[in-house]
């Protein structure tokens, strides 16, 4: 049940095909406003894993063996170098970085989602204030620590948020909504930057 592996566009091998690979935010990013930067994350391999009944522990072990990351807890992620396993909803884990080990297919439904999401990174002083304009989620340090993941509303879109650093967040929405996400985030970046100039909030 393993699907054909699609090579990441960052590798030159894909350039040999007649098709030009276009990332979701092509022509939209990067963007800098004030102290804030919005960039598109490099197009990593993304694979959704849904463990078969009773195979969670075995999957966690297999993941750790093959990719160095255990299954994350609810709302959490695990990371080893460029490989991450993100909790992605009830009974779902998104493996980002490497192509999945074919052996995982015995333990989980393995589905390629490398092209399904626009993956952005928002970084800089005030990144939390930008997101406070886009999501109802509590993103305070105590509630949303480094590595935390949430499936949530981002500016009236269903998406995912990942705490990647003290002032850095990963944002994911479906690829088709990339332009709307960039529009909404940049609008909030402008607002936060203008407020900072007033010395306020």
């Amino acid at each position: 049940m393993t699907e054909p592996v699609i090579k990441p566009v960052t590798e030159s091998a894909t350039d040999q095909t007649p098709f030009k690979a276009i990332p979701p935010c092509a022509g939209l990013l990067p963007l800098s406003i004030g102290a804030l930067d919005l960039t598109e994350q490099p197009h990593a391999q993304m694979t959704l894993l849904i463990p078969w009944e009773g195979q969670e522990t075995a999957l966690s072990k297999a993941l750790e063996k093959a990719h160095g990351v255990a299954l994350p807890g609810v709302g959490q992620s695990t990371q080893s170098h460029a490989t991450r396993a993100l909790w992605f909803g009830h009974n779902q884990v998104l493996l980002t970085g490497p192509a999945p080990d074919p052996a995982l297919a015995d333990l989980a439904a393995v589905t390629d989602l490398s092209d399904a999401y626009a993956c952005l990174r928002l970084e800089g002083a005030g990144a939390d204030r930008v997101l406070a304009r886009l999501t109802p989620l509590d993103l305070r340090d105590v509630s949303f620590r480094q590595g935390a993941v949430a499936r949530t509303e981002i500016a009236h879109m269903a998406g995912a948020l990942i705490r990647e650093g003290e002032a850095a967040f990963g944002l994911m929405v479906y690829r088709s909504m990339a332009a709307t996400l960039v529009h909404e985030v940049s609008d909030a970046m402008q607002s936060v930057t203008a407020r900072a100039a007033l010395g306020g909030e």
């Binding site: 054909p4 030009k20 092209d115 500016a155 088709s176 407020r195 100039a197 007033l198």
Partner: protein, 980 residues
């Protein structure tokens, strides 16, 4: 006039502003009201109904009179309270509800008509003729009565919405709020301190009090500075908490840049939703007026407001001040004024036993019965037990006691409790879970009591939050008792001529309330609606309690029996722009764009919305001036050559697992467990109630691995449905569902030459033998893995080709170019729709939620060999009755050759009335293939009436014709073109 020293204004920062075009000077720290009073301008508005000249009654957000308009055109903002509008350089305000000017208002003639314009006069006077109300009376009344107006133009100003989270939200930064914030902040709690004023401190900034032997305003400033230095405390000045909701959620409006001459990109206002573990309500209290004849004359204001103007803004709004009260705050006012050297004409205290040690003319046991003067107070008449006395004065400060600002405690249904000792309503206990009222809002009015309550409330909250107390010392402050004898309105017998005003903003008098009572509106809610008391922008903050007290008196009930009206959110007037922030323009809804979107726009194709998706309507070629020309050409192109279109918007659900076959059998009406790898099957899905949910194809890619296709519209609902089935109905089945809609860019290649086109691209060519109708399988295009499905939504030989979305744009360009080289090209939604109507294929126009498989002629797809969702319900009596409205085709037979979706069907000779309705049209188009209009619809006993002539009437568009009932498959009914 401005006092030469004192106040919290910044005298080093003079500001220039205009009011009704006149230039004035004020200082930073002024409000528009204080600056106008300093310049001797006391008339700031005209009243709602009678156009009486009015000046500020208050110095705060509850102001009913001094409402002004800022801005012009789209940014025009009416009904802003001059008493809270911070002065900035270049501020240009205009008065409202006057013509031609504030000083000379012709509509003030209404005031002379007052005997006819009392409560309920609209209802009594404009009864007849009935049709005149909407056309004549209402517009005329609206023009004569009203406040500021909007421009009617779209406002592009930036507003924003935001969320905040904290351990402790403190509402109000007066002594109680500041004390609570200090303790909680020092204890390390995550605190938000919100206050509607720009300058935190509340009454401390308006009184001449001391805290720990320093001036109270200095203590406030020092405390605010300490709080500002704490990283765990967020100060939110200019922020009004407007509502209390479930789970510790509070709404708030922040005036972000309204006080700035050059806001740049900063939003004008922000609408906040604040989520707090605990909250402290430290909103204080609002002073209330006393009703007497002409108590609305400019120059008459609340005693607390006068102290604010004198102490905070260093403004004395007149030369001779009289003071009238029923409690000790009147005395405090006199003391402050004496201290500033202001002449006090008299201090009138309604309490006969009151005493006074101040060197002023003191008149206990007396009442102000009447005021004279029109645009400015000139004199008052004082009623004592021995008679009346006239006194010259141009300012009268009134104190009728204090109403705790408890509105938020009523937002979840709790009713305030009457407290006779303070003659005030107090918050009900535990009115809002997690909200602790502290200070004056609980009826404890001394500074000491406020500080102590703030400290206690903070400690209560800290205990709940599991934090240690910070051991902040309680500062020393005055602890004067609150002594009050209720007085709501001076008795009418003593007043003489003139109306006694309760609701200044809506021109409601004591007499109006009594009239309502005598006419049977005895409930406070009825009185409110009959008189409009409390329905103006001040929401009755100045008048509610007075009006209900008078109603209680008029109906012979007590005040607690009478009760208050319901306080609802928002607590303060809130702009719709703030509440709807972010929803303008592109912010209205997300746009979902396909990978071919840029190429679509480049080709000049207009787009239509399908859900959130934007899809091409048609691809115009040079010379085509009407969409029908393009659409007809595209249909012909597909029927005779080849066309391509982006179908990525259709839902794609990846289904894996050992129990997938059983799962699909359970959700589809027909059998899927028998589907072989490499094959596709059309399926129908019912809701639990037996009606059709969606249709689509499901492909078996490998054993235990399927991809389901849903309609664009139902992609979300079907995914939700499947998840529900998997988690709740059939947890015994091990299946995994993943939405892969966005992973794959998918294109339909349709037409007799579709195989030829495909074989110019594929690494390994396909043949009819290897890839027959309803086959599927993996293919490769120059090494790129892809999926191919031989399915058709056009009735032609057709394929759908899917590639990872990153290659979608490139593949679309390639397919389009190849198709164009074969006399084909891209086609849009219009042609796609015509192609499927010609074939009688369904969309959600037909699967609209009220149709059954039987209605659609698909009862044959309901497997008898297995159970499936909706099976039993679909067998209920009536759901398969022959006289149901059932799917048919229609073609016009009359002189009018047009068929319209939405039109209704009738027997040929029947009248086109509701009772005779026989059905309706769901989809209609002109078929270029057949050369006439065609339609799909539902008709009573439809399939039994093939060949019958019926009548189509579109009542909305005024179109009528006759048409013939035909089978819903207009073109190639046996499907040979797609198959062979």
């Amino acid at each position: 006039m401005r006092l030469s020293k004192g106040g919290l204004i910044e005298r080093a920062k003079p500001l220039t502003f205009t009011f009704d075009g006149h230039r004035y000077q004020g200082y930073a720290g002024d409000t528009l009201a204080s600056a106008l009073l300093a310049n001797g301008q006391r008339v700031m508005g005209r009243s709602f109904k009678y156009h009486r000249p009015r000046g500020p009654l208050t110095a705060g957000p509850e102001e009913p009179n001094a409402l002004v308009t800022l801005g012009h055109g789209p940014t025009q903002e009416p009904n802003l309270r001059a008493t809270t509008l911070e002065l900035f350089d270049g501020l240009a305000a205009r008065s409202q509800n006057r013509w031609p000017s504030l000083d000379f208002d012709l509509l003030a003639a209404n005031d002379l008509l007052a005997p006819f314009l009392g409560a309920g006069f609209y209802y009594k006077t404009f009864m007849w003729p009935r049709a005149f109300w909407e056309k004549l009376y209402e517009p005329a009344i609206r023009r004569a009565a009203g406040l500021g107006a909007l421009s009617g133009q779209a406002n592009e100003t930036r507003y924003e919405k935001a969320f905040a989270h904290c351990d402790l939200l403190i509402i109000g930064a007066g002594p109680a709020g500041l004390m609570a914030a200090l303790e909680a902040g020092r204890a390390g709690a995550d605190v938000i301190l919100a206050d509607e004023d720009a300058l935190m401190g509340g009454r401390l900034n308006s009184e001449t009090l001391s805290i720990d032997d320093t001036p109270a305003h200095a203590w406030a400033a020092h405390t605010v500075a300490e709080l500002a230095s704490m990283p765990n405390v967020r100060l939110m000045p200019r922020t009004t908490i407007t509502g209390a909701y479930d789970h510790g959620t509070y709404s708030a409006v922040e005036r972000v840049s309204m006080h700035l001459a050059a806001p740049n990109d900063a939003p004008r206002e922000a609408f906040w939703r604040i989520n707090a573990e605990r909250a402290i309500l430290a909103t204080g209290a609002l002073e209330r007026p006393i009703a007497f004849a002409n108590n609305d004359r400019p120059g008459i204001m609340l005693a607390s407001a006068l102290r604010s103007y004198v102490n905070r803004y260093a403004v004395v709004p007149g030369r001779a001040v009289a003071i009238f009260g029923n409690n000790d705050d009147a005395h405090r006012t006199a003391a402050d004024l004496l201290d500033k050297g202001v002449h006090i004409a008299a201090l009138i205290d309604s309490r006969p036993d009151a005493t006074c040690t101040l060197p002023v003319r003191f008149i206990p046991g007396a009442q102000v019965a009447h005021a004279t003067g029109r645009k400015s107070l000139e004199a008052i008449t004082i009623a004592t037990q021995s008679g009346t006395d006239r006194l010259q004065c141009d300012v009268l400060a009134v104190s009728g006691g204090w109403n705790p600002t408890l509105h938020l405690t009523s937002h979840m249904g709790a009713r305030p409790r009457w407290d006779a000792k303070t003659a005030a309503f107090l918050p009900a206990p535990d009115a809002i879970p997690g909200l602790i009222p502290a200070g004056a809002v609980t009826g404890r009015f001394s500074t000491h009591a406020a500080l102590e309550a703030g400290l206690t409330a903070a400690r209560d909250a800290l205990s709940v939050l599991g934090l240690k107390h910070a051991q902040t010392d309680l500062p020393t402050a005055e602890d004067a008792p609150y002594a009050i004898t209720p007085l709501w309105a001076v008795p009418a017998s003593g007043m003489g001529k003139g109306r006694a005003w309760l609701d200044f903003a809506n021109d409601v008098t004591v007499k109006d309330v009594k009239l309502a009572s005598s006419e049977g509106y005895k409930s406070v809610e009825h009185m409110k609606r009959y008189t409009t008391q409390g329905m103006a922008p001040d929401q009755g903050k100045n008048s509610n309690i007075g009006a209900l007290a008078i109603l209680a008196d008029a109906t012979g009930r007590s005040i607690p029996e009478t009760g208050t009206t319901t306080y609802r959110a928002p607590y303060a007037p809130t702009t719709l722009a703030a509440m709807g922030a972010g929803g303008q323009g592109k912010g209205f809804a997300p746009e979902r764009l396909t990978t071919s979107h840029a190429a679509t726009l480049k080709a000049g194709a207009p787009t239509v919305e399908a859900g959130l998706w934007h899809r091409p309507s048609y691809f115009p070629r040079p010379g085509e001036t009407h969409w029908r020309q393009s659409c007809d050409r595209e249909v012909a192109m597909v029927r005779s050559h080849v066309g391509i279109t982006d179908v990525s918007t259709l839902g794609k659900i990846d289904i894996k697992g050992r129990d997938t076959g059983a799962f699909l059998d359970f959700v589809y009406t027909n059998m899927f467990s028998t589907l072989k790898p490499g094959r596709v099957r059309y399926g129908l899905m019912l809701r639990e109630d037996g009606h059709v949910l969606d249709d689509g194809t499901t492909a078996c890619l490998a054993p235990g691995h399927y991809v389901m296709t849903t309609t664009t519209a139902a992609a979300g609902p079907v995914m939700r449905h499947l998840e529900f089935v998997a988690q709740a109905l059939r947890p015994d089945l091990d299946v995994a569902l993943t939405s892969v809609t966005e992973q794959w860019a998918q294109f339909a290649i349709a037409g007799p030459r579709s195989t030829d086109l495909l074989n110019t691209l594929l690494d390994d060519a396909v043949t009819d033998e290897g890839f027959p109708f309803m086959a599927c399988g993996p293919v490769a295009i120059k090494g790129t893995p892809a999926r191919l499905f031989r399915i058709s939504f056009s009735g032609e030989r057709a394929y759908e080709l899917a590639v990872p979305a990153r290659y979608g744009a490139a593949l679309f360009d390639l397919l389009k170019a190849r198709a164009e080289a074969m006399q084909g090209g891209a086609y849009g939604m219009e042609a796609l729709n015509v192609l499927r109507i010609e074939k009688g294929l369904l969309t959600h126009a037909e699967l609209h939620g009220r149709t059954t498989a039987f209605d659609l002629g698909m009862q044959g797809m309901m497997s008898k060999k297995k159970d499936f969702i909706g099976k039993t319900a679909s067998e209920r009596p009536g759901l398969m009755a022959p006289d149901r409205e059932r799917l048919i085709g229609l073609r016009p037979t009359g002189a009018v050759k047009q068929l319209l979706a939405g039109a209704h069907l009738f027997d040929r000779d029947a009248e086109a009335t509701r009772m005779n309705d026989q059905g309706y049209i769901t989809s209609a188009c002109f078929s270029p293939t057949l050369g006439h209009a065609i339609a799909l619809g539902f008709l009573v006993r439809g399939p039994d009436r093939i060949g019958e002539e019926i009548r189509m009437v579109d009542h909305l568009r005024g179109v009528e014709t006759t048409c013939e009932v035909v089978a819903p498959q207009f073109f190639d009914p046996d499907g040979g073109r797609a198959r062979d």
